[in-house]
Symmetry: C2
Subunit: 539 residues, 2 copies
Amino acid sequence: MAGIFQRSLRLRTALRHLSPQSPQSPLSWTVTGRHTPLDLHCSFLPSTSRQFAVCSRKLHTGADRPSPAAAPDRLPFSRITQEDLAFFRKILPGRAVTDPDLLESSNVDWLKSVKGESEFTSFHLKIYFLVVIIFNSSILTSSAGSRGNTGLVGGSVPVYDEIILSTALMNNILTFDSISGILTCQAGCVLENLSLYLEDREYIMPLDLGAKGSCHIGGNVATNAGGLRLLRYGSLRGTVLGLEVVLADGRVLDCLATLRKDNTGYDLKQLFIGSEGTLGVITSVSILCPRKPKSVNVVFLGCETFEQLLKTFQLSRGMLGEILSAFEFLDSECMRLLNTHLKLRNPISDCPFYVVIETSGSDSTHDGEKLHNFLEEAMTSSLVTDGTVATEDSKIKALWSMRERVTEALTHDGFTYKYDISLPVERIYQLVTDMREHLGNRAKSVVGYGHVGDGNLHLNVTSPAKDPALLAAIEPFVYEWTASCNGSISAEHGLGLKKRNYIYYSKPSQAVALMGNIKAMLDPKGILNPYKTLPDDLK
Amino acid sequence: MAGIFQRSLRLRTALRHLSPQSPQSPLSWTVTGRHTPLDLHCSFLPSTSRQFAVCSRKLHTGADRPSPAAAPDRLPFSRITQEDLAFFRKILPGRAVTDPDLLESSNVDWLKSVKGESEFTSFHLKIYFLVVIIFNSSILTSSAGSRGNTGLVGGSVPVYDEIILSTALMNNILTFDSISGILTCQAGCVLENLSLYLEDREYIMPLDLGAKGSCHIGGNVATNAGGLRLLRYGSLRGTVLGLEVVLADGRVLDCLATLRKDNTGYDLKQLFIGSEGTLGVITSVSILCPRKPKSVNVVFLGCETFEQLLKTFQLSRGMLGEILSAFEFLDSECMRLLNTHLKLRNPISDCPFYVVIETSGSDSTHDGEKLHNFLEEAMTSSLVTDGTVATEDSKIKALWSMRERVTEALTHDGFTYKYDISLPVERIYQLVTDMREHLGNRAKSVVGYGHVGDGNLHLNVTSPAKDPALLAAIEPFVYEWTASCNGSISAEHGLGLKKRNYIYYSKPSQAVALMGNIKAMLDPKGILNPYKTLPDDLK
């Protein structure tokens, strides 16, 4: 306990030294990163004495008309001066980055749909400013060469001239307990690196997603990432056991427990899980990891109708039971894009729907028998028309890529409008069918894929280029449709910049108002990831 | 969505009619219940015009010296007048209960260690006041005949003259989706009734605990109950999908989603899970239920040392893998109490430690084989010295009762000091050994049992009668010991009245201060379950 207080004291001391400005123009921060708000954007509140730094902004939202997805006007934060920058360079030697090439990857999200841009000419205002690291006495460099932000809703890139904070070099594993399977690590650890570390120790991470090679665990937690294993291991709200968070006033909140159960007061860490960096900067994570399964099988199946696909899902839940670890789907349009753009060959005969089922268990003989019985029943009942099974690692990866690379194939098909919808599972494909009919030939492709087991549809619409008329046809149609089924307009991607104003389709105004109260309580000056998550009309 | 707003409007209207007092003396409420804060205690803020109702208080904390577990002075809430009671009776005909016999079960927790008591003579101030029900147009009666509050930290009984709100008659199941396994129900549903309902539909509740026959699901959620299935199905933070909550100002917060994934803004329901009724009154719950396993086995084993017990746990995780659903333990002292007080016979030969392992799976042949292999390995390696297996329901129940009825056996042994500790699993029994040595012959019995799989020890110390000297020897020793291992002083029981002031042993002051901010935000007048969960020194 003493350690906590000492660190907290160090932090406050550091913070006093850190602030290059007078108390009346405090720093305002936003955190973003990879699949996450985990680079910290910083702005200054108005300072009448310093007016010369003017940053204009270009936000490419793909629509000329003002859209609820467009950014609001720049808030009256102060602008960074040369004096500020000199100060940052002094306290962060080699870490205050202004090189435009290095900044590019953090200014633009990987979809290239949202871009923050400064036109300040004497020096570039975007800097990697790793304040948290100083507090922890770690050493950082700029995250040059990072593969960029993997978020899908513009939550992880600056909107105007916010300072970007990267946690990329906070990438240490702190502890791992091989009895309990509890891992603690810093926020900048790449998910895939954690997975590799754990696999050597007969454990796995409880989450897995396509962006694993570049996304950070801190970002995963800040966005409450779902992914491919949620069906089996549950959400991060259950598996994350502790967090260390830097609050907007610079205090370190130590909730980095490594206990499976703890009912001493309110569970504060839950506030930060899924808050997209708007309430605090996650710097460390402790997480409960499952044992590495001894046996993994992947099946790729084809179904004639979505109804048969759902029956196959039900059958798999009954017959595969505790070894079912994923039930994913894609439609024939996805397959066409995989063939066309990525030259991936359909491993089975053509079908309207495809399913990827993964089993993982502790006994390969038992798992094989269960799978065999399930497949026999599914074929006999004519629920599936074709299929292939993989038990070897390379073939497992090949089958998984049919599902995981759909997002990539879409980027080659044109400008993509992405929707991440939660619905009662029996309704999820109806939205794709209805959207296809609704749009007619206005769209290039309308595709559906996602996590059947979680009732989570990824609906994507492409067009040759950005198309405001198409966007107007999609929205609010898609949101109204979703709300009519009591669905969620963001199952796992979050709201970020693009979807913040659509929150009312999924949450009553009272709930949104309470979110505003929480934001005001934790970040009264609104300096953390401004313009994100919460709607503009919130007071 | 329209329904939500209508109901909210109805609520506000109802609330205006409801308040029998002027705005400057608003109602103050606390919710308690069974294993939970789910009866609502109500006090009035000071009203100079009404001074005649004086309620004195006797709080039986078992210690004459002021203890951190003792209640603070009564806060200056108003007292209920005859006019108030007449008003309540008018709007709640037959539901405003003042009969002392009926009130007894809600005034006293089931351990009989905490008692709120009014001595007002002309009528009894404790009334069942089911305000939430009115808003929902349901019909309630007093919960006479309920088996009483099952909480263990005095969180569910009034301290002074708070009004008690019972949700016992809000016991309707609202929806159940047999495809997704998502159940929505009212807060007063008894856990066992929900289990029976689901079992008919091939599902089970994701939690199970000894008090299932009387505890309410709303209380389970309000206290973030753990129980016997957490190892397999995770905590309520992952399985609870939605809540409906009545806030301190009477607004209904509708977060009753039935979606497995929803990342639209902050996850407000998490605030209320585990908040012990101090932030709002949970009125409805939606929860994700697992499939009913087709095969269940229970094994009762004996180990010579706790180290062997831990090795047995590790072995079971590897060899039983995905079918392991519980790993519980009790020591020989527990067995002695079961023999002595409940006449339960040890099903195996005498050992220092006993283990209850449950498997549940989808294939009885596979499960049987896994279990057989595991037991063979455990015997061959001399990890266990004796054991018995049950596959039939009645024998399964009999073996489980050896673990579940320890709490009951303790109540017959004398006055019980109860501690519910989270620790790194390899440390959990050391605390029992150290405590036994520390107390010497001052205690009657010092026993340890609990959830090995969750690192959760139940440490219990008995004495012939309440014994302040013994208590002084136990505390703060037990808390300091726990804090030295970064453990939690309340794994699953919560803090309630008795442990509120010990929170600093498990949480840094910054975290506690933030909890205070949350309380002030949601319940600025402090009317919900006062004197509970948060420490007295909180401003």
